[in-house]
C-alpha cells in the first residue's frame, strides 16, 4: 500500500486519540478541524514512511536518531506554545488561541540547523547525586532514577526522548 493512501477512518481514530490525550495533559489540538485532520493524516503518512510520526511540516531525514527532536510532539512544541500560542505545524495551540483571544500567526522555525543540533549535546560534570536526573525533552518531566522510564508518564514520549539533566 502506498504510504500516501490514508483512509478517513484511520485519521478519525488518531484524531480522537490525540484530542483525548491532549486535553488530559492540559494541551489543545487546533480547533480548525479540517486543517488539524490534514496534519493528522500527515502524521500517519510519516509513521508509515519513516517508522515514527515526525512533524508533518518538517522534512524528515528518515533516521530516528537524526529526526528524534521532530517526532510529534516535538522538542520545540512547548517553547513555541509559550511564545506563539501554537507549535510549528499548529497541531497544538494554547488556551488563548482555542478561546479566540489570540490570533494564529505563522511560527518561525526554532529548530537549529543540523550542525548546531549536534554541537548542543550537553556535557555534564560528574554528579554527586545518588541518582542521575533525567529530563523529558518533550514536556520537561524530571525523574531521578538509574535509567529514564520506557515511556514518559506525563506525555507518553518514548525513552529516547529523555536527556540527562543532572
Amino acid at each position: 500500500m502506498n504510504a500516501e493512501d490514508v483512509d478517513q477512518e484511520a485519521i478519525e481514530r488518531l484524531y480522537e486519540r490525540l484530542t483525548r490525550e491532549a486535553e488530559e495533559g492540559g494541551y489543545h489540538l487546533n480547533p480548525d478541524v479540517p486543517f488539524t485532520k490534514n496534519l493528522v493524516r500527515g502524521l500517519i503518512v510519516n509513521e508509515r514512511r519513516y517508522g515514527y510520526p515526525s512533524c508533518p511540516c518538517r522534512l524528515a531525514m528518515g533516521s530516528r536518531e537524526r529526526d528524534r527532536d521532530i517526532i510529534c510532539p516535538c522538542d520545540y512544541r512547548d517553547p513555541d506554545l509559550d511564545q506563539y500560542g501554537a507549535c510549528y505545524c499548529a497541531l497544538y495551540v494554547s488556551g488563548a488561541i482555542l478561546r479566540g483571544e489570540r490570533e494564529l500567526t505563522p511560527v518561525p522555525e526554532r529548530r537549529p540547523p543540523m550542525a548546531e543540533r549536534r554541537a548542543q549535546e550537553p556535557v555534564l560534570p560528574a554528579s554527586s547525586l545518588p541518582w542521575p536526573v533525567w529530563r523529558c525533552r518533550v514536556c520537561g518531566y524530571l525523574c531521578a532514577r538509574t535509567h529514564p522510564p520506557e515511556v514518559c508518564p506525563i506525555c507518553r514520549a518514548t525513552q529516547d526522548r529523555f536527556e540527562r539533566f543532572l
Binding site: L43, P56, C57, L59, A90
Partner: protein
C-alpha cells in the same frame, strides 16, 4: 526535478517548495490558486534522494534555513511560511 505547473496569470516566475504532509504548505498552494497566479510547485518529501538533496540545497541557499513552504518569485524575492499578507502583496491583483 518534477515540478507541477499550475496555469494562471503571469506574475513572474513563481516557484513553491512544499511538503505533501504540511498544512501550511497546503494553505499556501490554495492561496496561490485563489489568486490565480501561474506557478510551479514541488513536494520535496516525495522526491528521490538526489533530487531531495538538490531541493534542500536550493532552499538553504535562498533562505539560509530549511523551512517549508518557501515561495521564490523571479529567483529574487523569497517568502518563507504561510504569510498571506506578503503573498497577496507580492502576487495579488
Amino acid at each position: 526535478m518534477q515540478w507541477t505547473h499550475v496555469e494562471g496569470k503571469d506574475r513572474g516566475k513563481v516557484r513553491l517548495y512544499a511538503l505533501s504532509t504540511c498544512g501550511w504548505c497546503a494553505k499556501t498552494k490554495q492561496l496561490l490558486m485563489e489568486l490565480g497566479v501561474d506557478f510551479r510547485y514541488v513536494y520535496v518529501d516525495l522526491l528521490d534522494a538526489d533530487e531531495m538533496a538538490q531541493a534542500i540545497d536550493e532552499v538553504a541557499q535562498l533562505t539560509s534555513q530549511q523551512a517549508f513552504p518557501t515561495i521564490v518569485i523571479d529567483d529574487d524575492r523569497v517568502i518563507v511560511g504561510y504569510r498571506a499578507d506578503q503573498i497577496r502583496e507580492a502576487l495579488g491583483p
